[in-house]
């Protein structure tokens, strides 16, 4: 499997209430890169992620995924393209009352015949794929458990398994560990890192902690008020850069 290549040109997003979340953003991501996006809350990280799979419609600018300009695709074409873009969320966004297995299988819906899925029928191959992905994230025994019975770290791993069902070439991870404790954060990020290293999936991941960004990112982009203020290697972020991104009063918090 080969990761997707992304090219963003002059991306702007202005919300109807006048908030300018993204102001002229341009960068490129090479296939298989683990790109970490950092920045304060409200700097536009989530908006940027959601523009790439068009859960939010960009106001202007171009987004190329493997050379295709996705901003001109129709809703139906976009839906098909989304199947190859996995997304992982801060709040996991699982259906709490459904079983873990159903949550994982729902990642495959875009590929299935609509009528089968509406009757809650999944072919055996898909069942096996789901169980395989659960095994991959280390919780095969939780398949029949209700999603809300799991711990935060386990729920996020179900979220990763759901994204894996899509056989993605790109994973958008929107603050995937912001609701987790430090130890669990590492375990979850290691699974994401493995997807990038082993399967060559391109990963865009927003993180709050610079220590995590340095540890996992192959490249870091920093956003501030909707603009890119840093684009480079993790090692290049020194004290001065840090203050530029987070403001003069910021103190770096280490995470084990």
């Amino acid at each position: 499997m080969k990761g997707a290549a992304i090219k963003i040109e002059h991306l702007v997003k202005t919300f109807p209430d006048g908030t300018r979340a993204l102001r002229d953003i341009s960068f490129e991501v090479a296939p298989g890169e683990f790109l970490v996006i950092i920045g304060l809350s409200g700097s536009g990280k989530s908006t940027l992620m959601r523009c790439i799979n068009r859960m939010i419609e960009p106001t202007s600018g171009k987004i190329y995924v493997d050379g295709v300009d996705i901003t001109t695709l129709s809703q139906e074409e976009m839906r098909r393209l989304r199947r190859s873009m996995g997304m992982i969320f801060q709040q996991f966004n699982l259906v709490k009352r459904s079983s873990v297995l159903t949550n994982v299988l729902s990642g495959r819906l875009g590929y299935l015949r609509p009528t089968w899925a509406l009757m809650n029928y999944f072919p055996r191959t898909e069942m096996n794929r789901a169980l395989g992905n659960l095994a991959r994230v280390g919780i095969p025994e939780k398949a029949r458990t209700r999603a809300d019975q799991l711990s935060g770290g386990q729920q996020q791993r179900v979220g990763i398994a759901r994204a894996l069902m899509q056989e993605p070439t790109l994973i958008l991870a929107d603050e995937p560990v912001a609701s987790l404790d430090p130890a669990t954060s590492h375990s979850v990020l290691r699974y994401v890192e493995e997807l990038s290293k082993k399967d060559g999936i391109t990963v865009l991941c927003s993180l709050h902690f610079l220590s995590l960004a340095r540890r996992y990112g192959t490249r870091i982009i920093a956003l501030k008020a909707g603009e890119v203020v840093f684009d480079g290697l993790p090692a290049d972020i020194d004290e001065r850069r840090f203050r530029e991104i987070y403001g003069e009063d910021a103190v770096e918090v280490e995470i084990a």
């Binding site: 859960m55 839906r79 393209l81 996995g86 966004n93 495959r108 609509p114 809650n120 899509q166």
Partner: protein, 396 residues
């Protein structure tokens, strides 16, 4: 302003008065006193009556602990004898009795005289009643009797001044004495009351079921119109939202009892009126609960499943339905349970079900029969309550 502050003498910090000495508290106390004094008056609270009236409620309470549930088949023996209350008039001639016999001391006896009545040939050691029949056959109980080991009895009665019928002539003086002895025979079986109450309690449960079902069918689509997060996106939607919510609020505030009265006038007495009343009220009650559930769904799973490339219909099936169906089921079962309780009251105004017979028993002072109905209602409501709790626990 600033000068005033500057020239004001420094305040001596007074020791704060206790809270119960403050004028505001005393005023508050006086206000409370007025309110409760008036309340005591208008609600006509009369505590001595609780003690004085206790004797009246005693038969009811006593019968409450011995409901009419099981009974034996009752064998009835009757014997009549014709008498006259006017010496100038001969008593009627009745055919000779084949079974038990009643013999008054004298067959011609004036009103108000003492009369000794003997009987024989009845069941031994049985109790019965002695009636005086007027010329048109209306019985008036004048004594309770008890037969001896040989099946005979002797009872002295006072001849009552019975209604002589439309014709005051000689026919009016021809009256009768009737003795009826009832003996229970055979094994205990469910009594007639028990059978009626059972039938009516089933009717009550189904009345509630039908009312709830009608309500669900209407409330599910309406609840989407009454959900702010779906409707309040444009002026038309907002209008529909407010209209729906207003309908829910108005209908919910009309008691099912009042609706039942309206429907008994509309479709006649009986369970159908009760079904309509409970149904209409439940549409509003369920509609409000459903809409609030729709409003509180988590948008996270919707976003997540849309982001996997699922179609809009699949998103509804996998992200919306699992979030609303279990609570909908729980609310519906709870409503059914509530409706069973309500339908007993609806029966009082003619809406069918067990309440209807309960009211009849109370009006006829048949407290043992009423007790049967009361116990049946208690058992069924408690059982429904328990079952609905179990099911709700499982579903949610």
């Amino acid at each position: 302003m600033s000068q005033q502050v500057a020239t004001a003498p420094p305040r001596v910090p007074a020791r704060p008065r206790a809270w119960f000495q403050s004028g505001r508290f005393l005023l508050f106390l006086a206000g409370l006193l007025v309110i409760y004094a008036y309340g005591w008056q208008v609600t006509k609270i009369n505590l001595p009556e609780l003690v004085k009236g206790a004797t009246f409620v005693r038969p009811f309470v006593r019968d409450l602990v011995r409901p009419d549930v099981l009974a034996r088949h009752v064998e009835i023996q009757e014997a009549q004898v014709a008498v006259s209350i006017d010496p100038a008039v001969q008593p009627e001639t009745l055919p000779l009795p084949t079974g038990p016999v009643v013999e008054p001391e004298s067959r011609v006896t004036p009103v108000g005289s003492q009369l000794t009545v003997r009987g024989r040939g009845f069941q031994p050691n049985a109790s019965g009643r002695l009636f005086w029949l007027n010329p048109i056959g209306n019985p008036q109980q004048v004594a309770l009797i008890r037969t001896d080991a040989a099946g005979a009895f002797t009872e002295t009665i006072t001849v009552p001044d019975a209604f002589r019928g439309p014709e005051a002539g000689p026919r009016g003086a021809q009256q009768r004495i009737l003795v009826r002895v009832e003996t229970p025979v055979g094994p205990l079986r469910p009594s007639k009351t028990a059978r009626i109450v059972f039938e009516k309690i089933i009717e009550t449960v189904f009345l509630a079921l039908m009312g709830t079902t009608i309500a669900v069918l209407a409330a599910v689509p309406l609840s989407f119109l009454g959900a702010r997060n779906l409707m309040a996106r444009n002026p038309v939607g907002t209008t529909i939202y407010y209209v729906t919510r207003t309908f829910f609020n108005i209908m919910r505030s009309i008691e099912p009892l009042i609706l039942a009265i309206v429907f008994t006038v509309w479709v006649g007495l009986g369970p159908f009126a009760g079904v309509l009343a409970l149904g209409l009220h439940s549409i509003a009650a369920l509609g409000k609960l459903y809409s609030e559930q729709i409003e509180s769904i988590d948008p996270g799973p919707i976003e997540a499943i849309t982001a996997t490339g699922a179609s809009p219909l699949q998103v509804v099936r996998y992200a919306v339905v699992p979030q609303i169906v279990p609570p909908f089921i729980a609310f519906t079962i709870y409503r059914w349970d509530t409706n069973v309780r309500m339908s007993t009251v609806i029966g009082f105004v003619g809406g069918g079900g067990v309440g209807f017979v309960l009211q009849q028993y109370i009006n006829l002072l048949q407290y043992r029969q009423a007790a049967t109905a009361v116990w049946a209602i208690t058992l069924v409501v408690a059982a429904m309550d328990y079952l609905s709790a179990v099911v709700r626990e499982k579903v949610v």
